[in-house]
């Protein structure tokens, strides 16, 4: 008996151990999470929503058109400024202070940034652009720095004294194509981010989507969604290295009003609004402690708890979905015609921001963790499924392997890509957490919920404290993910698709 036990333990690899932890934590979260459906006529609502796709229309097409132009030009200007800022920050990325402050700005979601700037500059283009630029330049800076380091074939020892000349001659030429293609990829993300800024009132797509939804004009919701898919799917034809500059100039003229900057408000915000209430009013240490303690036990703790529960549940569901989806788009399992339809579904799920998915599910099922978890699962699962499908297409299997699909899946394909799968999952983890926090705005009691209500009560000091907590939580998850990837030694196993994960 003892012998058998020992030989079984031999099969427990690091990959399995890590997967087991994800599984257990996911299952526990599943039982803790509130996944109830609270709408009375759920099936009727779902039916009505999905059937209105055949009655596609929009009451005022010029408004729709304007919403698209607004969304696209805000995204273009934001990515333009972010790429310049990001590049300069990337040059100083080796500085620890720069790295820490960038990881902080990255950890706060663009919708939160929008909520902050709303308080300072009001509802305008400037707020929208700043909300995108700040997290995006931090992300671009990090990835640019990695690209510059990676694409460097020139030996250190041959580098001379003129640092700038050597930088321009030996680093830029090899890195430039990668920098450009990553920036173009990021533009797609910026489009999605700009669209959802509408949910806090800026007149981009999300604004019209939510107002159509609330009035029950589902045909308009579908119209917006489908036009958005077309815009996102065609992005590489109208936004590329040749059109980048002209489009940026046109966008500047289109959005000609960048006013709204108010230094007094900014100063008041920093020196007064976000300073904790008891400190601002000199109420002494005890009162301050009571203030903090109250927020800590009533908002921070439950907020963190719910954010983690939603994150872990969604991570687990994402993993399951990705494992089911990837064979559907893999050349190793299905022929071209059947892959095509799966591809289309995955593209649609990938290009719908999780926030919009969650919003739709929330309207259909009522407030609980169910809509959020479903949205996060569908969006992230389809991204990882797509990337895994690509990875399996690169595998070269010997010609005489089994013809049985299930056996092929478990014996030949999955073991070869499992490490990549875990790496993808860990890369997405931090993003799922960022989203879990933000989905609180929709009424699920994660950190975003408390941040949103603090703003509604105009208690900006509390908002700021909660934002700091959210950022810390994200940074911790990022660090754990990094450690886990080191433990699994995954980072060396793939390189091509890493960019599309961040």
């Amino acid at each position: 008996m003892k012998m058998i036990d020992k030989s079984c333990i031999m099969f427990v690899t690091k990959d399995l151990r890590v997967s087991f932890v994800i599984f257990i934590v996911g299952v526990i979260s599943f039982f803790i999470a509130d996944l109830s459906i609270s709408t009375v006529d759920t099936s009727l609502l779902v039916e009505e929503f999905f059937f209105s796709i055949i009655k596609l229309s929009f009451s005022n097409y010029s408004i729709l058109f304007e919403a698209f132009l607004n969304t696209i030009s805000i995204a273009i200007i934001s990515i333009f400024i972010s790429s310049i800022l990001g590049f300069f920050l990337a040059l100083f990325f080796s500085n620890i202070l720069v790295r820490i402050s960038l990881s902080f700005t990255r950890a706060i979601h663009e919708l939160f940034w929008a909520l902050i700037f709303l308080q300072i500059f009001g509802l305008n283009t400037l707020t929208a652009i700043l909300a995108i630029i700040i997290p995006y330049s931090a992300i671009l800076a990090k990835v640019y720095a990695e690209i510059l380091e990676e694409h460097d074939t020139f030996p250190q020892s041959l580098r001379g004294r003129s640092k700038i000349s050597y930088f321009i001659y030996t680093k830029i030429p090899d890195a430039l194509p990668h920098l450009v293609s990553y920036t173009l990829y990021r533009f797609e993300c910026a489009l999605r981010s700009t669209a959802i800024l509408g949910f806090v009132g800026i007149t981009t797509l999300g604004y019209y989507l939510s107002s159509s939804f609330m009035q029950g004009y589902y045909n308009e919701v579908w119209m917006i969604l489908i036009s958005f898919y077309i815009v996102v799917a065609s992005v590489k034809w109208w936004f590329n290295k040749y059109t980048f500059i002209p489009l940026t100039i046109v966008s500047f003229f289109y959005l000609d009003d960048f006013s709204g900057f108010n230094l007094d408000n900014l100063i008041r915000f920093i020196t007064n609004d976000i300073v904790p209430y008891p400190i601002r009013n000199d109420l002494g240490f005890d009162k301050s402690l009571a203030w903090f303690d109250n927020i800590f036990s009533n908002e921070i703790l439950p907020g963190i708890f719910n954010t983690i529960v939603l994150t872990q549940l969604s991570l687990f569901l994402t993993a399951l979905l990705a494992l089911v989806l990837f064979p559907l788009v893999s050349k190793k399992f299905f022929s071209k015609p059947s892959r095509l339809s799966s591809h289309i579904i995955l593209v649609i799920l990938r290009s719908t921001p999780e926030y919009i998915l969650a919003y739709i599910f929330l309207q259909l099922f009522g407030p609980s963790m169910l809509p959020a978890a479903l949205a996060l699962m569908l969006h992230n699962g389809s991204i990882i499924g797509h990337l895994m499908g690509n990875e399996t297409n690169l595998l070269s299997l010997r010609p005489d392997i089994t013809k049985k699909r299930t056996e092929k899946y478990f014996y030949e394909v999955l073991p070869r890509v499992y490490k990549q799968f875990l790496a993808f999952l860990f890369y997405r983890w931090e993003i799922i957490m960022r989203e879990s926090a933000i989905l609180g705005i929709l009424g699920i009691a994660t950190l975003g919920f408390f941040i949103d209500s603090a703003i509604a009560d105009f208690r900006l000091d509390k908002m700021f404290l909660l934002l700091l907590v959210t950022a810390f939580l994200n940074i911790i998850v990022d660090l754990i993910s990094k450690k886990a990837r080191e433990y699994l030694k995954t980072d060396s196993s793939f390189s091509s698709s890493r960019c599309s994960l961040k």
């Binding site: 321009i168 030429p173 090899d174």
Partner: protein, 219 residues
């Protein structure tokens, strides 16, 4: 005296490559280092380069070319320190006639003039090697340190290029595999095995035994 090593040890982490190593090379000498991979040739060259950076032109084994730049720019790179940032930028975007002519002349000597506008990424292994050699010739400091600069070239070109290298540099120290080419083009050969010098002689003094020994260390 160009180099004078006295009982030096060079190690990577715990691994000692050269132990108690002594070697002196006079100015004007043409020296070939012979030995298998792992014998310590590259380590020795790198070490020598770090001793006299200012006076040495170095061709590393991995060549150190920038893949996405043209042959012209890769050769021009050796002059970055001599020129101003403005000139460097100008030549990056629009190469000047002056430098084009100079570099074309160097490229002719290694039969690479037709590739002046090609990107490194589109070149064969041998062409890349000749580009790195052109960069070295264009740089032309007093001492050449080259780590197997002809490993991807045919016999005829190898011979031509070794002639060129020994001619252009006052002192040249080359790591090589080919014993016959080494004896033909250099004044002095050093056979290395496991970080030890097992033969160090002026070429004209070599006897049949020594040659056999050299073939043995390179095999």
């Amino acid at each position: 005296m160009a180099f004078n090593l006295q009982e030096e040890s060079i190690s990577y982490g715990d691994f000692t490559v050269l132990n108690d190593f002594s070697l002196s090379i006079e100015k004007g000498e043409k020296v070939a280092l012979l030995g298998k991979s792992g014998s310590g040739k590259s380590t020795l060259l790198k070490h020598l380069y770090n001793l006299e950076k200012e006076d040495c032109t170095y061709i590393p084994q991995e060549l150190g070319l920038v893949n996405n730049l043209s042959v012209f720019h890769n050769v021009y790179i050796s002059k970055l320190d001599e020129n101003s940032l403005f000139t460097n930028l100008r030549n990056l975007i629009l190469p000047s006639k002056e430098y084009k002519d100079k570099i074309l002349k160097v490229l002719k000597e290694v039969e690479l003039e037709d590739k002046i506008h090609s990107k490194i990424i589109n070149l064969s292994g041998g062409q890349k090697q000749r580009c790195a050699i052109s960069r070295a010739v264009f740089d032309r400091k007093q001492i050449l340190l080259a780590d197997e600069p002809i490993s991807a070239l045919d016999e005829y070109l190898s011979d031509e290029i070794l002639k060129l290298l020994t001619l252009k540099f006052e002192t040249s120290i080359c790591a090589l595999h080919n014993v016959d080419l080494a004896i033909k083009n250099f004044d002095r050969v050093i056979g290395l095995k496991n970080g030890k010098v097992i033969l160090d002689k002026v070429c004209s003094d070599l006897n049949e035994d020594d040659r056999q020994k050299l073939y043995y260390v390179c095999d």
